[in-house]
Symmetry: C2
Subunit: 235 residues, 2 copies
């Protein structure tokens, strides 16, 4: 946790506070604060800065000398469309993609996504995973997250607009072209998860704006692939 993220209702003037016991425990585990300590803070969707611990009780952390004078780091101009992974992977993927600065994240049904994944309680915790990712990065700005439970209508009706004026790509191990490097425009990128996308899906994505590109001969975990692509596309 490289920054403590505050919601607007946890902040007023030069003071800020956390009164949620669970959240407070999490903060203490990571930051091990004591009265008088200075820490880095950020206001949701706002500026970053610092504050000092005024008091620390089991049910309340009070911060004083709140200063919010720095902008958050810029996002990557990247819309990431992910075939919904299994719940355990979802947590890491959301956290890591938010840390890397993905601007918009769409979780999509695809043929090899188990329908049961859409019932996972993890989907109710997306905001928590986002918060973890932002606090790791030192960012404050919530990315957009959307869920799309039907592949074909999404690709046919929504994808073309999402690729408009952008570079549309889909990571596919058997594509002849390699993933580009250091691009000069915003990107809309589709990544399938374990098992990948089926040929019909790749074709439909290609037809509606996303060129298939490969990432080399090695088979990477989705999280690893996502980080490698983000590091490669944007300089």
């Amino acid at each position: 946790m490289n920054l403590l993220l505050l919601q607007p209702d946890q902040y007023q003037g030069s003071q800020a506070w956390i009164e949620d016991a669970l959240r407070l425990r999490h903060v203490q585990e990571h930051l091990k604060l004591a009265v008088g300590d200075t820490l880095k803070i950020g206001l949701r969707d706002g500026q970053k800065g610092s504050a000092r611990v005024a008091s620390l009780e089991p049910t309340r952390l009070l911060l004083t000398e709140v200063t919010l004078d720095q902008p958050p780091p810029p996002k990557l101009p990247l819309t990431l469309i992910l075939a919904l992974p299994r719940p355990k992977v979802l947590r890491r993927l959301i956290k890591d993609s938010v840390t890397l600065g993905v601007e918009k994240l769409i979780l999509l049904q695809s043929f090899r996504v188990e329908k049961s994944y859409w019932q996972s309680p993890f989907l109710q915790q997306i905001d928590d995973f986002i918060q973890l990712g932002l606090e790791q990065a030192g960012d404050t700005v919530w990315p957009q997250v959307e869920l799309r439970k039907r592949f074909k209508p999404f690709v046919e009706d929504e994808l073309p607009a999402l690729c408009q004026g952008r570079l549309g790509l889909v990571a596919h191990p058997y594509a002849p072209a390699p993933m580009p490097v250091a691009v000069q425009q915003p990107v809309t990128l589709v990544i399938g998860c374990e098992g990948g996308l089926i040929p019909y899906e790749i074709e439909l994505l290609a037809k509606h704006g996303c060129q298939p590109v490969h990432l080399g001969q090695r088979i990477l975990r989705t999280e690893t692939a996502m980080a490698a692509v983000a590091g490669r596309l944007f300089v």
Copy 2:
């Protein structure tokens, strides 16, 4: 597991076998094999190919029709020097760096590495983590791994040779120059772990061949940074 990796003593002619109960259980969990199934295999430090399950008992998996006719994917020309992370992170870092194709990995003491990490039982399991990484990637070739428990002698006496004819870099958040992209030469890269390297260490590394470079304003987990850098340096 995208490939079942066999040791030389588990293979002869057209047959191969696994008789280690722990390993067998791991394989079954990931591949759920049945008699007659074909699977991808690889011989440690050798070729890749396929085999068919001849028999499957709780204590023995026998493979037949063993074919080893494809080369493993090339490694990245990357020597990665990591300040030893805490044990839990070590596992993922070794696995991911091996999956990405790191050729040589050196685990190094640094000021912010807790001495107790060198006593972790995880250090005895490095070969297991490497195997997991290779089986994820579809690779067979063991990377070199070395441990260096003293920072200064390593940097002064060994690092210059490791940077000879290569691009030497150290990831450092406060460096003025950015991490390069799509380089045309082998790279020796130092990454500090949680807490980073101290200024004295950065200076010593710079003096002995590793230029400090930053990765942008965001603070990434070491695994995420490592994957982003690998995807960025090599095309």
